[in-house]
Amino acid sequence: MIRTEGLTRVFDGHTAVEGLDLEVREGEVFGFLGPNGAGKTTTMRMLACLIAPTQGTAWVNGHSIATEPDAVRASVGILTESPGLYDRLSAERNLDVFARLYGLSEERRKTQIKRYLQLLDLWDQRDRPVGGFSKGMRQKLALVRALLHEPPVVFLDEPTAALDPQAAKTVRDFIAELSREGRTIFLCTHNLDEAERLCDRIAVLRTRLIALDTPENLRRRLFGRRTVVRVRNLAPEMVSAVRALPFVHGLEAGDGQLTVDLADPEAENPQLVARLVGLGAEVQYVTELRHSLEEVYLSLIEEEKTA
């Protein structure tokens, strides 16, 4: 659905994005993470044909950003970092302006505006000038604006930034709903919890692409897989016995707890637990140690810095 080849953008001698190669699959929520100035917004702008790449190219929804910018623009929706609404116009008129620019017929405009305003609980506010809207309402309206022409690809730049938790949840739920409809969503965000919840795959950018995979695979690649076993009566011989197991790659013990590095926990956990129980251990619980996406992200950025 989105494919980039060596996408590069240089501003006045400063490289914002360098040699970006990636492929976003149809219907996936693709998280685009990176520190400030990493080139996330620049990449999104290139893909939405708002700015041109210095080198390289990309295809969005089958259209080349270099040779078919109009077709690209018509097939994508974009939620920019700032909602950018016309404060003096009503919510409905704001949307109508954009629906007309996307070439929607009058009947379709009315249907679409009503549908999305109702979906995001803004229908009752449709006649109010948006200058009086809260941040959350403005963000929801900007999101609706990006979807009126039913684009198969949606670019979202920090969709929940500066929103209160309730408004952020509404927007997140709506993004999840869009994903279920089969749209491809390119999500630039600093909110790692949001990326974890929503994204099928994530890319970490710091001018160059640092990593690209599912959150789970990134986690495993960086930290391996670890099982935590809590034992009421943990004894030194139990620790030694576990360390001696051939599939155990690493072990930390202490405070009634064993943290074991495993390659295939689904296959190895039963043997591990059986060995402990055989030694008289009273196993209280067994769980997988999951590193947060934040730990993954920070580790990747740190690796990149040191490299």
Binding site: F11, C49, R73, G84, R88, R100, G103
Partner: protein, 259 residues
């Protein structure tokens, strides 16, 4: 279709911005009222004394008229310049703000992300900025003609509705208006401060006022042919300036350098 959408949006924003809207409506009406007031007091003076006195020597081209008519014609010619430049002067501030306003509201990026072409955007903004002042100017002129009929002699009236002025106000003014608006839009798209854009745009008035003065004093002899030639020339310049405006409207620079 997209040009019309931009025009509708711009007009709605103007109408909803009371300060801008009333300045567009009231300023021409106020100026017209002042002109009519001046004529009214001149008329009273003529009724009372039978003539009008001028402070200095009247221009040679008025020598054939009575002193009262000559003074009134001189005044009326100056008023006519206003009706000619109203569609040029009034929209400058709207035009100068048109792109900067979008930059400030951060609405330019979503707008440029739509399939709208640069020429459609700029033409829409230019037409939206120039039409209200042109209509306001025309209506003010019609009002002026209707009321002046009761205040001036037939000789003076012939100057007020002289084909040179009527054609100029009807066609030349709006064409110059489009030109001034495009200059304002160029300034607006190249600058980040609306005040700077307005100041630079206002400079465009100087040559036009000069042209009006030249017409008034007969330096430019206006025949139908010179009028048609002038109108065609200004229309052609409008098209060229629109193309220049499109070239100078650098989407990337506007999006990436505006903070």
């Amino acid at each position: 279709m997209r040009v019309r959408t931009i025009i509708d949006k711009e007009w709605e924003e103007i109408i909803r911005n009371r300060g801008v809207f009333w300045s567009l409506v009231l300023l021409p009406l106020l100026m017209t009222a002042i002109f009519l007031g001046v004529l009214f007091f001149m008329h009273l003076e003529v009724v009372r004394t039978g003539t009008l006195s001028s402070n200095g020597q009247l221009p040679a081209y008025l020598a054939m008229y009575s002193p009262a008519d000559a003074v009134m014609i001189m005044m009326v010619n100056q008023f006519m310049i206003y009706f000619l430049i109203a569609p040029v002067a009034l929209p400058i501030y709207i035009a100068a703000y048109s792109v900067i306003g979008e930059k400030q509201a951060r609405s330019l990026e979503p707008l440029l992300a739509t399939p709208v072409r640069t020429w459609e955007l700029l033409l829409g903004k230019a037409v939206a900025a120039v039409v209200p002042p042109v209509i306001a100017g025309w209506l003010s002129y019609v009002l002026f003609v209707i009321i002046a009929r009761f205040l001036v002699s037939d000789v003076v009236m012939r100057f007020i509705v002289a084909p040179m002025w009527v054609l100029s106000i009807a066609f030349l003014g709006p064409l110059f208006g489009v030109l001034s608006v495009l200059v304002g839009i160029i300034a607006s798209s190249r600058m980040n401060d609306p005040r700077a854009a307005q100041q630079w745009s206002a400079l465009f008035l100087v040559p036009l006022i000069g042209a009006g003065m030249a017409m008034m004093f007969g330096v430019i002899a206006m025949s139908v042919w010179t009028f048609v030639a002038g109108a065609v020339l200004v229309a052609a310049v409008d098209v060229v300036v629109l193309r220049v405006a499109v070239r100078l409207f650098q989407r990337e620079a506007i999006l990436t350098r505006w903070k």
